[in-house]
Symmetry: C2
Subunit: 532 residues, 2 copies
């Protein structure tokens, strides 16, 4: 059963090891545990639905409404743990076909209802939260439209319902010998339609591309009609309508069908870990490697403090001691940075890619440690979000944020971002533990993915106030230092106020013109992406 | 000196060899030579400019106006050869800075003048032709804004003026050890701004990407203000404004600065030719090769009739006889198809890519001929447009058109397209020589690039009437058979009527909404891209 007040399946538990708790206590102080609400308590707060004439496809069940009321941002987490949800949708629509989506749009227009398109509910930026409003609000969940509809095996295109989540996508493709290869950290729960709507990026985007490269066409139901986007390998026939949809976050329409570019399953895949002696050499090494176009499928780099944190929080301290001794002998001591890379493909190509990567990294003092840590990364690639539970139970709040910038600015922005978080609670005398990795690298630059751990204080109100300071401070650091407000999480409500810095007033007005074109009454997810 | 009535530099002459003329005469009949007009004759037809208060940056010179009046479509060619230009711009603006572009926009608004943004004037789809109108028309040429402004060597981003043409881009980059790697066939004359505005694709897009992947950001001057698009390696912050600009064909604004992703010059580059025994095996071979992700930098495949035509029109018949004998011995006889591929990069990777490509192609009966023909392709890669002159002087008209579709549809669409052209003049009892290659391949599908040679008839009017039949027939075949109306030439005026089939009425309306947003008076290139 999926958790109603946190991440993932109830059966998956990732606890913080005792030595990890000590590590954090030394850095930022002893944990502060806040009491959790029960589901019964929250159910008692769900108000009667305001829907006068609910459509047959809409559930008014209190638990269903509760389970669709919040995403996975830290404010969502706090609201769920405290049991203070504030606003619930008046109903949850569960269509099974495009025709039913169109029916629901017509119904919403007729009944003057606001609709919130909903995929896996994994937003960390406030995409799917109903707001207090005079009009009733219905969450339109696409979870029942999760089937593989068709594969064009010559063109390597698969057609899916928009509500297929990561495991549903991969299991249906793998049964036929194919893969999409799109693995965001939210993969277990997030959906194809959500990936398209929010411009998602997967951990192996170096090989498979971001969702922008994987999305081949499909259909969107809008208040102005159905927009069908045919599949072409490429086209010069005017601006690409796919790109208008990518990142539209539900403001233009409800995605009813998604066609994606798939790949045959690779013969071989391996992940490796290399330790670089310090951050400057690690940063230059990773840039050189990606700009040399060595065909890797994954490449990420933790900074020194993240490397240290990962080793400290790992569940096998004895092994880590031996690893540290070995690394120190080879020159990777205090300040070392862990790089992980993957090769995916045929054996000959993988062997050459590995050889070239090793050779190049050796030139930067890299200590190669083989596949052991790479395998660990691969096995635990979707476990990080579960760690929020382990940390919370130990009395710590954790959140992440991310951006991307050109290589010439990566180090500067990373420092500004980490500093903004590290000092955001200084007025309260609170320490914040901040660490970063580069998770998606490109010839031009890199994403920057920063995690921060802080103490929630003595109440939920205090925890939220601390988060707001941290978040605003970090977002300001990003937009004032040439970063994009999001590389992979999207805009939602939380990032919308910062978006004009990069889009310009004119760009925002253009997006608003498109939103008005497709949704004249502004009935779809108002306030998401664009503040109006 | 650039030709005023045809392609390229006057000093470059590509004649049709005598045996090439015989080859065509046997296929479609003896050539029909039409008389050319002189420039003096045309200059005498340039009317007085209608500009009441011309801006200082605008030239009213008759020859300058003549030289900016037509592009390179076949109707343009016929108009230029006949000397019947019909409409000339009332002036040609030659700004040198973004500020001057903004001045010109303000002036155009004040004077109620239509503006046509102009790059290299190489459009083959009627992008830059002034139309008869009550308002005066000024062509806004960006040719003076052709400088490399800045290189960010860490991020591999170069900033250029929008008017830099292919040689200006490459020579300024190569002097610093870099390349853009973007080589459309029009490279000698077409410009960076034009590539962006029309979603251009270069011959080595397999390595470097299309202009969509190379375009990193820049500035556009619009009637609603300046749109500055910052550079990010990737972003999830809403729809990508770059993608709204790509393919906008001057309808939204005038591009004043272009930032592009560049590469370090590769250590080694080679091109190879392989002959496949027949079209079905060749088609499967090229699809298999690209879907196997072998890192090639170029991959193209001529169908049997193009292969035969290329060998027949080549300038060295004795060598060709020996080549044919060798190929026949190896199993590539009548019906054989020539594939050309390139490897670009470091020696180890190139060696492996070559080995893997050869091995795979051998499985399809491919006969490898080494670098000789590949080198010839590389040396002559920009010469094909000059052949229009050689053919014209021999009494033949030639035109090309192109599309792209998914692999499962390539063979079908190619046949429909070729047949539509081959039979388009049947009512006049005229033969059309039609041949095709796949010039840009993707995992999902391929572009289809078709050339057709026909006799112009006894007059320019007859030649134009024939072209119209051919063009309409082919465009119908494309849009009725799941092809995009253009893979690399853009929409312009010639393809605009066919665009709604793929964009949908709703998609067209969305693009129109953007055009109205940026250019409320519809003063920029009206009728281009969108028929309104």
């Amino acid at each position: 059963m999926r958790r109603w007040n946190g991440w993932g399946e109830e059966s998956t538990v990732v606890a913080l090891p005792a030595h990890g708790g000590q590590f954090l206590a030394e850095l930022i102080g002893a944990g502060q545990v806040l009491p959790d609400a029960t589901m019964e308590q929250v159910l008692a707060t769900v108000p009667a639905s305001r829907l006068v004439a609910p459509h047959d496809l809409i559930s008014l069940d209190a638990e269903v409404r509760l389970r669709h009321a919040r995403g996975q941002s830290l404010p969502d987490w706090l609201a769920m743990r405290e049991g203070c949800f504030e606003v619930f949708p008046d109903g949850v629509a569960l269509p099974e076909t495009a025709t039913q989506i169109r029916e629901l749009l017509a119904w919403a227009q007729q009944q003057d209802v606001i609709l919130i398109p909903y995929g896996g509910g994994t937003s960390v930026a406030g995409h799917i939260n109903p707001q207090a409003s005079e009009q009733p609000v219905v969450t339109l969940s696409l979870e029942r439209m999760n089937k593989l509809i068709e594969i064009d095996e010559q063109s390597l295109i698969a057609t899916f319902g928009p509500g297929a989540n990561g495991p549903q996508v991969e299991s249906q493709l793998r049964a036929r010998g194919y893969t999409l290869g799109h693995y965001p950290q939210s993969w277990e729960l997030s959906t194809l339609g959500g990936w398209v709507a929010s411009r998602s990026s997967g951990q192996q985007s170096l090989r498979y591309g971001r969702i922008e490269q994987l999305f081949a066409g499909g259909s969107v139901e809008t208040f102005a009609g159905t927009l069908s986007i045919p599949t072409f390998p490429a086209s010069a026939a005017g601006p690409d309508l796919k790109e208008i949809l990518l990142g539209s976050e539900g403001r233009f329409g409800v995605i009813s069908e998604v066609r994606v570019r798939i790949s045959k399953l690779a013969v071989e895949e391996n992940f490796y870990a290399v330790f670089l002696p310090d951050w400057p050499s690690a940063l230059e090494a990773i840039r050189t490697l990606v700009q040399a176009r060595v065909p890797l499928s994954m490449l990420r780099l933790s900074n020194a403090i993240e490397t240290k944190t990962q080793l400290a929080l790992a569940g096998h301290p004895k092994q880590i001691v031996w690893l540290e001794r070995y690394l120190a002998l080879c020159g990777a001591r205090e300040g070392k940075c862990m790089m992980t890379f993957g090769v995916t493909g045929n054996r000959q190509q993988n062997a050459l890619s590995l050889k070239q990567a090793k050779h190049l990294l050796k030139g930067f003092g890299g200590v190669f440690t083989g596949t052991l840590l790479g395998k660990k990364w691969s096995e635990g690639r979707f476990r990080f979000p579960y760690l929020r539970h382990g940390l919370w139970e130990a009395g710590y709040a954790v959140d992440t944020l991310e951006t991307a910038t050109d290589w010439s600015n990566v180090d500067h922005l990373l420092n500004e971002l980490e500093t903004s978080l590290r000092t955001a609670l200084a007025d309260e005398g609170e320490q914040v533990h901040v660490f970063t990795h580069l998770s998606h690298v490109y010839g031009e630059g890199s994403s920057i993915y920063t995690s921060y751990v802080f103490r929630p204080g003595s109440s939920y109100a205090m925890a939220l106030a601390r988060w707001k300071k941290l978040k605003h401070s970090a977002c300001q650091a990003i937009v004032n230092n040439r970063g994009t407000i999001s590389h992979q999480h999207g805009v939602g409500r939380d990032h919308a106020p910062y978006l004009p810095v990069e889009k310009g007033e004119l760009g925002i007005a253009a997006l608003q013109a498109l939103s008005t074109h497709f949704d004249p009454d502004q009935r779809l997810a108002p306030g998401v992406l664009l503040t109006k």
